[in-house]
Each structure stands twice: as C-alpha cells, then as structure tokens.
C-alpha cells in the first residue's frame, strides 16, 4: 500500500476541483473495492478525495416519471427503497444478488459502476496484466480464466488484449433498464447513456469506462418504465452468495397477452461491460412467448462468443441462462 494524502470534499465543485488539481488522486465513497486495490498495490492514488459528505445520498422522482439515484445512496438503501422495489424490482433483485449484506451497506451506487474487474491477474502484481500495466500482456488468455469474458474481446488488430469482465450485478440491471449516468467534471455537467458508460477493452483495456479525466458521477437516472411486471434476474455462480457471476442475465419483457411488445436482455459475467444487443432483442418484438423463440434469441446473443479454456462452458451456460431468465420473466414456469 502506498502512502496517500486525504481530503474531505465539502461540495461537488470542491471535489471536482481537487481532482483537477491532482490527476493522480481518486474519489472515495464506500471504498469497498478501492481500499482492497490499494492494499494490493494495484491502485496507488496519491490522494483520496472523500466524497461521502456530498449531498448525493437521496433518491428522488424525476420530471419524466423516473427515479434519480444519488451517487452516494448505498446499494442496500437502493435495493430496499420502496419505490425501487415496487417499480424497478429487477434492479432490487440484481443488487441483492451481489456481494454480501455488509458490503452492500457500505458500497454506493456511483461506486458500483466504478468497481474494477475481479480478474485474478489484475489483482496479483506478480503476473502480467494489460489492464493494470498496459503492454505487459494478458495472463488470463492462456491461464485460469474461469470467470473471464467470452464476448466483446476483439481489437482493431485482432490480437486479444484483455478478457476481464465487469463484475457488477447492479450494472447488468441498469443496462437492461437503459439508465442514464449523470456526471460533473471540470467542464461542467453531462449525461451518459448507460450502454455507453462502460466500454469494451479493445486495445486500451486499462480504461473501464468513458468518463473524462476528473469527472465525478453524481446520479443515476432510471427511466419511467421499470418492467416491473415481467422481469427476471438470474445469477449463476460457484456458491449461493458472495461470489461473482459466472453468467448473469437481466431479462425484462413488455407483454400484451402472450405477445412480446418490448424486450431487454443484458448479460453479466461474459464481457468487459454488461452485454446487450438491441437488434437481437428486437427479434422478440411481436413474437409469442415460448422457449423456442427464447432459444433462438439466446443463440443470437452469443453469436461470435469465444471461450478460452476454463471459461468455454459459459457459451452453453449463457444460452441456457438466457432461456431460463426469459421464461421466468414471461412467467412460463
């Protein structure tokens, strides 16, 4: 662990300006991932800017009928918030499928988006890792890659550089719900559609997301439609709690009778970001619910997937999980 300085920010502007003054500083909220990374010497911020006192810890209604989750609302408070639980049960269930009760009590919604991969090699300085040290190589490709990506690992040159996955459950639901991330940076405020917040590794795997230097997440906006009638979050993992997803599926359907009018499917544990293919989801529009059509969609979603040995089972597991999640969302069983 490095020595570091500490600043307690007293407002969003203060926090952002502190960070602008010291680009090697990091924001800290719940710290449930950052502190671990610092202990392992993976993250070496020169300063922690503590944002816990910023007024970003409330859940409020938005003008267009949605909800705004302040960046500092804890994962636990979000999952158990009455409006979230009623109108966005997919999000509640996804949050509660993640981590442990103790971690959810500390971890914040903004921090959840910022958590880094659980790739074993990323955490162990003894091994090369392109995400930790660009250009050093990826140990996972030929190594122990049980929890690693099978989708979206391509690069412009064709040489795979990183097969890490994003570990969040919450983000899989946020991707399916098409949330919006609100950020404040040195150049002011902007919003980022959730699908554009996290990124694929390409040839810059050190970058997890599209935040500009010094930007701070202030809130996550949920649109009005929470798909509260027909949804499922299915998480498959190596034990029943406190394990990251091998594969997870957030499925949400709008139904008129048995006919699908809208569908969202996001996958966790398979890529560097929550995995969505809107054009595949569109294949469901106008179709009747049923395992055959779900299987077709599952096959299409996994199109182009590649296994690396230990994780090759995910190709089949993901398909089965998609069919199951869609069938649960459609209440077929």
């Amino acid at each position: 662990m490095n020595s570091f300085a500490y600043t307690r920010a007293d407002g969003v502007t203060h926090a952002v300006s502190e960070r602008a003054d010291e680009p090697t500083a990091a924001f800290v909220a719940g710290g449930t991932n950052l502190i671990d990374l610092m202990k392992e010497n993976v993250a070496r911020p020169t300063r922690l800017i503590d944002i816990n006192r910023l007024p970003l810890a409330t859940i409020t209604d938005t003008e267009n009928g949605g909800l705004r989750l302040g960046a500092l609302v804890t994962n636990a408070d979000t999952a158990y918030n009455k409006k979230v639980a009623k109108n966005y049960p997919l999000l509640s269930e996804a949050i509660l499928a993640g981590a442990s009760a103790q971690l959810r009590n500390m971890a914040t919604d903004g921090g959840n988006l910022m958590q880094r991969t659980r790739c074993y090699y990323f955490y162990d300085l003894a091994t090369p890792c392109n995400k930790r040290e660009p250009g050093s190589g990826c140990s996972a490709i030929n190594g122990f890659n049980r929890i690693h990506a099978i989708l979206g690992t391509g690069t412009p040159t064709g040489e795979v550089q990183c097969i890490a996955t994003h570990p969040s459950d919450m983000c899989v639901a946020l991707a399916a719900l098409e949330a919006t991330v609100r950020v404040t940076g040195p150049d002011g405020d902007r919003t980022i559609p959730f699908a554009e917040f996290h990124r694929l590794p390409g040839d810059t795997p050190q970058l997890d997301n599209t935040l500009e230097a010094g930007e701070l997440i202030t809130a996550i906006d949920l649109p009005a439609n929470g798909f509260s009638k027909n949804y499922a979050y299915l998480k498959l993992r190596d034990r029943a709690s406190y394990a990251f997803a091998l594969v997870s599926v957030a499925a949400a359907l709008e139904l008129e009778g048995n006919t699908i009018t809208d569908a969202r499917i996001a996958l966790g544990g398979v890529a560097h970001k929550p995995w969505r293919r809107p054009e595949v989801e569109a294949m469901l529009h106008g179709k009747s619910v049923g395992n055959d059509v779900f299987q077709t969609v599952a096959d299409a979603l996994l199109d182009g997937a590649q296994g690396y040995g230990h994780n090759t089972f995910k190709l089949e597991l993901a398909k089965r999980a998609i069919v199951r999640a869609l069938s649960q969302a459609a209440k077929l069983n």
């Binding site: 662990m1 490095n2 020595s3 202990k39 392992e40 010497n41 659980r118 074993y120 090699y121 955490y123 162990d124 300085l125 003894a126 091994t127 140990s139 030929n142 190594g143 122990f144 049980r146 498959l236 190596d238 034990r239 029943a240 709690s241 406190y242 394990a243 990251f244 091998l246 089972f313 089949e316 597991l317 089965r320 999980a321 069919v323 199951r324 069983n333």
Partner: protein
C-alpha cells in the same frame, strides 16, 4: 444431596463470552511499548535464484529500521534437525532467507521492519527483486509419471505406508462378475482459518547468552512445537523463551507446523533486540502448506450377489522438492471392507510447490471421497441399496490389520441415520425424483477416522481459596478444549464447574503435543483425569492427617470426591471439605503434575476408529447445473461424547466443510507461473451461510474402555470424512452423472 456431574452435559463453551465480546486476545492483538512491525516480501516466481534484491528505497523511508534478506540474515542453526517440528515430514525443512534459491512461488524472501505496520507494508512494496528464472513444474497430472514411494521417517510412525498386497487382486478382479474402476482427481485446498497467522515477540533486555528474554505470542496448534523450533533455530535456552497462545482463531491443521512468521519475528527480535510483530495477510495465507492435489484410482470387484472380492486403491499426491509429505489415503477400504484380495498403493511427485500440510481429516477425506463413490457405483451395479450393500459387506474386525475393533457401532449409525433421513422412501433409480427444474438426489457414505492418543502432561492445583486450577500446554482451536477439560476436572474431583479453571496454550505449563488428528480430547483429557485422580490421592492423604480426621483408618478406595468434599462412600456424613484440607496444608496450595499415557499394551490388540454414516440430499438444476445441498444427516459413533453441544458444533463444522470440499473449494494453480491465483476469500470459495441448509447430527451410543480411560474417540475429523462422498453420490442419484473430480462445479454437470 446428589452430586451434579458435567461429562455428557451440553455445557456452554466457557470461552464463548470472551470470544464474542473481544476479550479473548489472539496472537496479533498483543501489544507492548515500542513494538516494531514486520512485513514479509514473497517471491513472484516459482523456481530460480535471486540475482539482486534492492532494498535501498525501502530503507530510505524514515521509520524503516531494517530489511532482512538472505544476504544479511543472521547466522542460524546449521542442521536440518534444528528446523524439524512435531509435524515435519521426512526431508529438509524449508528455512526462510536461507539462500538465494527460490523453491516455490510466494516463498518469503525478505522481511521489512518498520515503526508501523502501514510503513512496513509500504516499504515492502518498494523492495524490488531481479531473478534468474528456471523452468518449474507445478502440474501433478503432467508429472504423474515421476511418481515414487515417499521416504520414511519419524512421521511414518503416525502415518504408516500402505501394507503389502493381500491375496491376488488382479486375478480376483478379472474373475469378478461385477467390476467398477474410476480415476478420482481432487484439487488443492488451503486451510484459511479466520485468524491470520501472526507472531508478537515481546523482548526484555538481559545479559544472558541469548541477549534477553522472549515472550512469544504465536498462532499455533501447539506452543510446545513453537518453542522447540524457536529455541533450536535461534539457539535460545528454554528458560529464556516462553510461547503463549491462549486462543486460536481456527486451525484445521494449518498451525500444526511453525509457520514462517514465527521465524521472521524471532529473527528480527533477536537481531534488533526489540519487540517485533509479524502478521501475514490473507493473500499470504496461501503461501504455506495446503492439502495436496491428488489423483486416485479405485477398482472394486464383487460377486454377482454383491459380495466384495477385490479392492485396489492407489493415490498419487504432490509434495515439494525438499520434503516428502505423506498422508494415509488408501488404507481405509482395507479397514472397512472384507475383500480377500487387496492392493493399496500411495506415491508422491515432487513439484516446485511448498510442502503440503495436514488439513482437516488429512488423507482420510481424500481417500474416502474416492472409495465411497466407488462403493456406491458397485452397489448400483449390483442392484443393491447402498446401505444394504454396506451392511452386506460389513466387517466387525479390521481385515487389514487382522484385529478386532475396540468398538464399532457403524451398523447402528446406518440404522439411525437412515431412519432420521427417511432413506427407505428412496427410489433407487437415478433421475427419478424431481421438483420442477430441479432433480433431487439422495446419497450416502461411510466415514472412518483413527481414534488416537498420545502422551501429555497436566497440572492440577487446589488453590488456597478452595478452587481448582488445571493446566496443560495444549491448544483450543475452537473445538471446545477449555470446556471439556474443565468438565473432566470438575467431575474427577467432585467440584462445581464454576470452581474449576482450565488454562492452556503456555509453555510454562506441563507439555502437551500439537492439537491435531482428533486426539486432544483423548490425550489431554486422559492427562487431566490422571492428574486430578492423583491430586485426589494427595488430598486424601492430607485429610487423613488432619486432627480428628474421619478417615484415619480408611483407605482411598472407601471415599468419594463430591460437592467439594471428601466423603466416606458408605456414610456421607463422614466428610471433610476440600477447603479444610487445603487450609490444613500450612497456607499453601496443593499441587500435582502428572502424565497421561496411552495404555499401549491394551490398545495394540485392537484397531481403534470412530465411524459415521452420512446421508445427503441435493437438488441439481437440470439445465443450469447448480447444486444445492438441502439436507445432511450425519450419524456418528465416536465413543463417549463429553459435551453434546460442543461435539455437535464440531460435527456441524465438518459437514459445512464437506459441502465446501464437495462443491466449492479449490486453490487454482496457474502452471504458467506455478502460482496459486485465487488467493483471497472472495475467489477461494468456502461454503457460506446461503449454501448451508438442514444439518442434523446424531451421536450413536458407543461404549469403549480400550481407547482411553475416558472412552472418547475425538471428533475433529469424523464430521467431515464421509460428507463429500455422500454429496457426490447424491449428485449421481439426482443426475445419473458420476463426477469424479472435486469440487463438483456447475460446469461439470452441464
């Protein structure tokens, strides 16, 4: 008034309150003024040499005192013998900082000493190392052709190699109408007790040869083991060193050998003449011993009627390049089943890994997990219910040693366990039971573990206030040693529990061996019983000498110790209070030290084992492969149960461990680096609460006056031994798939 007795009662854990309120102090929690902190640097390669180790950046930080490496470490004991501990396998024990050679990945290579832990850790991150790398071998499967017989040594006394073949396995197997053969592969596991390994050495200046006095707070399963190691390696006379370990936050075998933080803290304290604390991190908990990876082959033959005729069980386990770690893996089939034709074989392969280390039910759970799956397969082939099959092939004698069992209520375990589980309702057909997507499976297995006893010493003192203090330098690794020893002492001297204190974990106390192998209740329990009986005799002698003693013409056999009194058996009014006895001792406490010894002459005529029958129910999602263990019933015959509450907890812990071993636990080594990669509790999966459902423990009555005077067999291992096989057999019954690799993760069932 009848005397209250405590043995056999569900007494609450006496150290429980101190543990849950934080009063119980562990090795890392002891403090002293001007304490220095050490942080260990570990190697990043598996094999090679340190060319250069750069410590100047670390040393440049204010508050960093010293960086110890192989280049500047002090002179230490020369011979391997000095580094041998009570659990050392044959070979040359690893010596931290001995030389530039790297023998395994994460080997400790430097110790940074600083004023604070944080500073030491930061400074350690500035130590850089240049290596000369050599090709390493860490893959058991790829190296199994190099399997060889292990060397024998002192350790072979407790872990004898498999006996010579009996009959003619090949011929009998070839002729057997029913045959099964399978290869079983088990992953490496790490103990991962909750408490991190830590040593706090409190140094006091002195002009003696060793430069002072050392009080060592160590995480260990045996203070006697730690003191022998530290005294020999650092050439410190026993009078100048004392090791204390009142509480241990879990051991599971990891504390059976002195770990390197003890060496590091002692070395630094002796060299710097300062008090030093060294605490390992969770990641470093993966840098010492582990349960070895194994590959086993089991082949069984039976008659058409299901009578077993041929048994073959071989195991290949990994070890390091410097010690021959062995365990008893393959002998159990020969002890449990009657075939006349038996071949057993155990070999090891040296790899560039650290030496494996005994881990809960070492060998036993490995071998039984293979054997009992094979037996299940054979029963299925014979078309016989698995319980019926085991009863059909039941032995009252140990066929391997050709000795009777001192006691064996396994039949009763089958009966009571099956009844509690509802086994009779089982449809024998695999995939016959389901609930929606979930296939339901019922499986069972037998467990067995040796009932051992070693020698131990204990002290009993009747204090001037009439209370009893008993002590022995044993350990309580969470098993309930404090509680059961207090119960034994209270009953032996007829005292209420609140007037009796039992102390342990201090080398100023009479010596006891390491706490392992399920032998502590028998070993230390016998010492406590013996010392209390001998103190009783002493007290009786004193009582006889008292003025107007009612016992003047009475012999010891005619009195009993009850209600804090010595009483005449035939006339309870003729009594002397223990308080008066100690009062008559000229104001001094009455003290006795005794040794509890196993009665070898009696024991050697018998095989002494605890047994269990384990029944498990699983659900397996047919599409997704996820397994849940919804119920386990374990019926245990382990002699006398001293405390049903702590005993049940031990068995429950074993069952939870069994769930982890069957389905989750695996230290994955990346052979690119020869390094364990999932070195955290987030990625190394042990069972969590959500994995644990209905667990039921039955203790079957079992009387045994051969094992030891208390009739106890020990419970540390038997709770685990049969569980993984019962779960694997249940998975077969649910799915029709025989998975022979542990852990059974969902991908194996897709």
């Amino acid at each position: 008034m009848t005397q209250q007795t405590y043995i056999g009662k569900p007494i609450n854990r006496l150290d429980g309150l101190d543990k849950v309120t934080g009063k119980a102090k562990y090795a890392a929690e002891f403090d002293t003024p001007n304490l220095l902190h050490g942080y260990v640097v570990n190697s990043t390669i598996a094999k090679g040499k340190i060319k250069k180790i750069n410590t100047q950046d670390a040393l440049g930080l204010p508050g960093v005192i010293k960086v110890f490496t192989h280049e500047n470490r002090p002179k230490l004991a020369w011979f391997d013998m000095s580094y041998k501990d009570q659990d050392a396998p044959p070979g040359s024990p690893f010596r931290p900082l001995r030389d530039a050679k790297i023998r395994y990945s994460a080997q400790p290579i430097a110790l940074v000493i600083a004023e604070t832990f944080e500073l030491a850790r930061y400074a350690a991150s500035l130590v850089t190392v240049e290596y000369e790398e050599m090709a390493h071998q860490s893959d058991l499967e790829a190296n199994r052709h190099r399997a060889r017989k292990p060397a024998s040594g002192m350790a072979s006394l407790l872990k004898p190699p498999p006996p010579k073949p009996k009959g003619n396995f090949e011929a009998a197997f070839a002729a057997a109408p029913l045959q099964v053969t399978g290869e079983y592969v088990h992953a490496v596991e790490h103990h991962n007790p909750m408490e991190m390994f830590a040593t706090t050495v409190v140094y006091e200046k002195g002009r003696n040869k060793s430069g002072g006095k050392y009080t060592v707070y160590d995480k260990t399963q045996g203070v006697t083991n730690s003191i022998l190691y530290a005294a020999q390696v650092f050439d410190i006379p026993f009078k100048d060193i004392r090791v204390i370990s009142p509480y241990v936050g879990g051991g599971f075998g990891s504390g059976l050998r002195p770990q390197y933080q003890l060496f590091m803290a002692m070395m630094a304290a002796r060299e710097l003449k300062r008090s030093v604390k060294v605490v390992l991190t969770r990641q470093q908990m993966f840098s010492f011993g582990h349960r070895p990876a194994t590959i086993q082959t089991v082949a069984l033959g039976a008659s058409a009627e299901g009578d077993m005729t041929a048994l073959y069980h071989s195991a290949v386990g990994e070890t390091s390049q410097f010690e021959d770690y062995t365990e008893i893996v393959v002998n159990y089939g020969g002890m449990l089943y009657p075939p006349e034709n038996v071949t057993l074989d155990h070999q090891i392969v040296s790899l560039d890994v650290n030496t494996p280390l005994d881990m809960r039910a070492p060998g036993g759970v490995t071998g039984i997990s293979a054997l009992e799956c094979a037996v299940d397969e054979l029963a299925f082939k014979a078309g016989i219910d698995p319980v019926e099959f085991r009863l059909k092939n039941y032995t009252d004698r140990d066929p391997l040693a050709d000795l009777p069992y001192s006691s064996k209520e396994l039949r009763e375990c089958f009966r009571q366990g099956a009844e509690r589980f509802g086994w009779l309702k089982r449809n024998p057909e695999p995939r016959s039971m389901r609930d929606g997507h979930n296939l339901i499976g019922w499986g069972m297995a037998t467990g067995i573990w040796e009932a051992s006893q070693a020698a131990a010493r204990a002290e009993a003192v009747l204090l001037v206030n009439g209370k009893l203090r008993v002590s022995s330098a044993t350990a309580d690794i969470g098993t309930g040693t404090y509680t059961i020893m207090t119960q034994i002492a209270a009953d032996t001297l007829g005292m209420p529990l609140e007037d009796v204190t039992f102390k342990l974990g201090d080398t100023d106390m009479p010596a006891a061996p390491i706490e392992g192998g399920s032998w502590t209740a028998a070993t230390v329990g016998t010492a406590v019983k013996t010392v209390c009986e001998e103190l009783a005799k002493k007290l009786f002698k004193l009582a006889r000498k008292m003025p107007d003693s009612p016992f003047a013409s009475v012999s010891f056999n005619e009195v009993v110790f009850v209600n804090k009194m010595i009483q005449l058996k035939k006339d309870s009014l003729m009594a002397v209070a223990l308080q008066s006895v100690v009062d008559s001792n000229g104001g001094a406490a009455v003290r006795q030290i005794s040794t509890g010894l196993p009665n070898m002459l009696k024991q050697r005529k018998y095989t002494r084992s605890a047994h269990s029958a384990v029944f498990a129910e699983v659900t397996v999602d047919e599409d997704l492969g996820t397994v849940r263990v919804t119920r386990i019933v374990s019926a245990v015959a382990a002699g006398r149960i001293l405390n049903p509450k702590t005993a049940r907890s031990q068995i429950l812990g074993g069952m939870v461990w069994g769930i982890g071993k069957a389905l989750e636990e695996e230290s994955v080594i990346d052979h690119q680096f020869g390094r364990f990669m999932n070195h955290s509790l987030a990625e190394y999966h042990v069972a969590v609460n959500a994995d644990v459902h209905d667990l039921d423990v039955i203790f079957v009555d079992e009387h045994d006056d051969i094992v030891n005077p208390l009739g106890v067999k020990g419970l540390g291992e038997i709770g685990l031994v049969g569980v993984p096989a019962a779960i694997a057999n249940a998975v077969f019954h649910a799915t029709g798939k025989r998975i022979r690799q542990l852990p059974i993760t969902l991908d194996k069932l897709l």
